[in-house]
Amino acid sequence: MLKYIIKRTLWVIPTLVGVLIILFSLTYLMPGDPASIMLGPRATPELVEDLNKRMHLDRAMPVRLGYYLLGVAKGDLGTSVWSGHKVSSLIADALPHTILLAITSLGIAALIGILLGTFAAVRRESPIGGVVTIFSLLGVAVPDFVAALLLMLLFCVQIPLLPALGAGVEGDLVDIAVHLILPATALGIGWVGYLSRLNQESMLDVLDSDYIRTARAFAVPKRAIAYRYALKNAVIPSITVIGLGVGKLLGGAVFVEIIFSRPGLGKLIVDAVYARDFPVVQGGILVATILFVFANLIADISYAFVDPRIQYD
C-alpha cells in the first residue's frame, strides 16, 4: 500500500511541471502588453523599457519560462500588475474560502448522493426509487448559477432567513457557516443528483452480481449485504468521478462566488482576467490546477483503500 501511495504521489511532479509549462505558454499567447497596462497609455518608452527589463519581458520566451519556473519553485508567483500586491498573498487570502466551499459542498453532496443512490437501488421496487430518480435528474439539469440565483431569491428575498452576500466575519464560526449554506447548496445540488444516479446504477449492477448471490445463499443479513458488501464495490466509480469533479466544481465556484460576492479563488481569477492582470491569472490558475491534481491524488489513494486490486496493477 505504502509503495503504491509513494509511486502515485511521485507522479504528481511531472504532471505539475507540464501544467506550469502549458500555463505559461497560454498566458504568453494572451493579447495585451503588461507594461502598458501597468503604466497606463501615457507612459514614456523609457519607463516601459525599464519595466520590461525588470519583469524579464524583453527576453526570449524560454528564458522567461526559466525565470518563471525558478520563481514558482521559490514560492514567488509574481506581483499583481494592478494592485501591486504579491500574487501569493492574494491567493492565500482567497484560497481558504474556496477550499471551504468546495469541501463543504462536494463532501455533503457526495454523502447525500451516494446514500440516496444506494437507497434507491436497494428499494428498487418501491416508489422511492422513482422519486430519487426524478429528484436526481432535476438536480443534474439545473445549472449551479441558476440554482444559486433561485436559492438567493427564495431564502434571502422572499423568506429572508439567510445572508445573501459575503463569507461571514472572520473568526466567527457560526457566521461563516451561515454564509456557507446557500453557496454550498447551489454548488452541490447538481452533484447530489449526479452521484446518486451514478451510484444507483452501479449499485444495481453489483446487487445482481455473483458474489452478492453467494452472500445471500449464506444468509448474510440483507442490510449487511447492501450497505457493506455491495456498497463498497458500488462506490468505486463515484470516487473517480468525485476526484475529476473537483475541476468542474472550481469552475462552478466562479459563478457562485460572484453571485454571492464571496471572496475566493474563482472570483480572484475572473477579476484578474477582466483587468488583464496576468500574474494573478497565472498564479490563480496554477493553484486551481494544483488543487485539481491533488484532489485526484487523494481520489486515487482512497481508491486503493476501497479496491485492493488497484495497488498491485
Binding site: E125, S209, D210, Y211, I212, R213, T214, A215, R216, A217, F218, A219, V220, P221, A224, Y229, K232, N233, V306, D307, P308, R309, Y312
Partner: protein
Amino acid sequence: MSEPLLEVSQLTLDYNLGSRKMRALDRVSFSLDKGQVLGVAGESGCGKSTLGLAIIRLLPKVAEIRRGEIVFDGRDLLKLSEAQMDREIRGQKIAMIFQNPQNALNPVFKIETQMIDILRVQDKYQNPGNRKRRQDFRQQAIERLKGTGIADPAVRVSNYPFEFSGGMKQRVMIGMALSSGTSLLLADEATTALDVTIEAQINRLITELAAEYGTSILYITHNLGVLSEMADRIMIMYAGRIFEMGWTKSVLGSPRHPYSTALLESLPGRQTRGKRLLSIPGFVPPLDRLPGGCSFHPRCPFAEEVCRQEVPPLIEVDKGHWSACLFDQKRGRQKWKWI
C-alpha cells in the same frame, strides 16, 4: 439408506418476462436420499440451475412457482418465510456453490472477512446466546480452509480473492459451504469453469467432505463424464422436464431416452475412438416457444406423429429407472437405437 432428505414433487415454475411466459420447470418430481449424490445433467437452458436456485429460494424476482412442493427434512421449503429460510436453511442445512468461482467471492473484502461473516451468521443461528470472539471465528475459518487442502491457511486467510486461482477460490467456497451441519450441498456447475485436472481435484474434495459430513449432493452439470464417477443417481433434464432418471449405472449403461443416448454418444470415450462424435442437431428450444407434444421431437430422428401430439409421461421403465419417451414405452428400445 433410502431415507429421503429432499422430495420435490410436481414443481412447476414460470419466468414472467413482460408478456412472455416461460415455463422453466414443468412438473419436476424426484427425491434425494440422505448421503446420496444426485447428478442433474442436460444442455444449457434446461432448467438445471433454476432447480438449484428454487430449492434454496434464491430465484430472481421474475420467477413464479406455480405449483409443487419442495419437502426438505419433512418441511415444505416453499412454505417457509424468508426469515426462516435465513435462520434455518440457507448456509446452515443447505449450502450452495456456484459456477464461475472468479466472481463468486466479493473482490474487495479479504477471505477472512467473508468467511468470518458467514461463520458468525451460522453460529448465531446454531448457538444463540453464545457469543464468540472474532479471533475464534478466524481460527475456525483457518480450520475450514485447511480442510479443503489450501496450503498455509493461516496466511492465505488474510488474502484477497484476486490473489487466489480459480480452483483455490472454489476450495474457499467449499470451505464456506461444507460443515458438519450441512445436510444438502447444491453444486451448480461448480467445476465447469476450471481446467480438467483441477476439476477432478475439486470434485474429489467435494465427494470426500460430503462423505465425511454425511451431506447429500445435488450436482448440476452438463458433463456426464464427471457424473459417471461421482453420482449415485442421475437425472437428465430437457426444457424444464425430467427426461430420464435412475441409478448411474443403468442410466449410463442402458439409457432409455433418445436424448440421454445422444448426450452419451456425444462424449468422447473408449468405444468412440476413431469415430466421429455425435452432435445433436438443432438446439434447446426457447422456453416460451416449446413445441407441442414431446419437446424433444424436432431434434429426435425417431419422432413420429404421436410424439408431436402427446406429452410423454415419466414412467418407471425398469426398477428405479424412469424415462419419458413414448417411442421407447410403446415400441421398445431396439426400434430407436442411434447406432
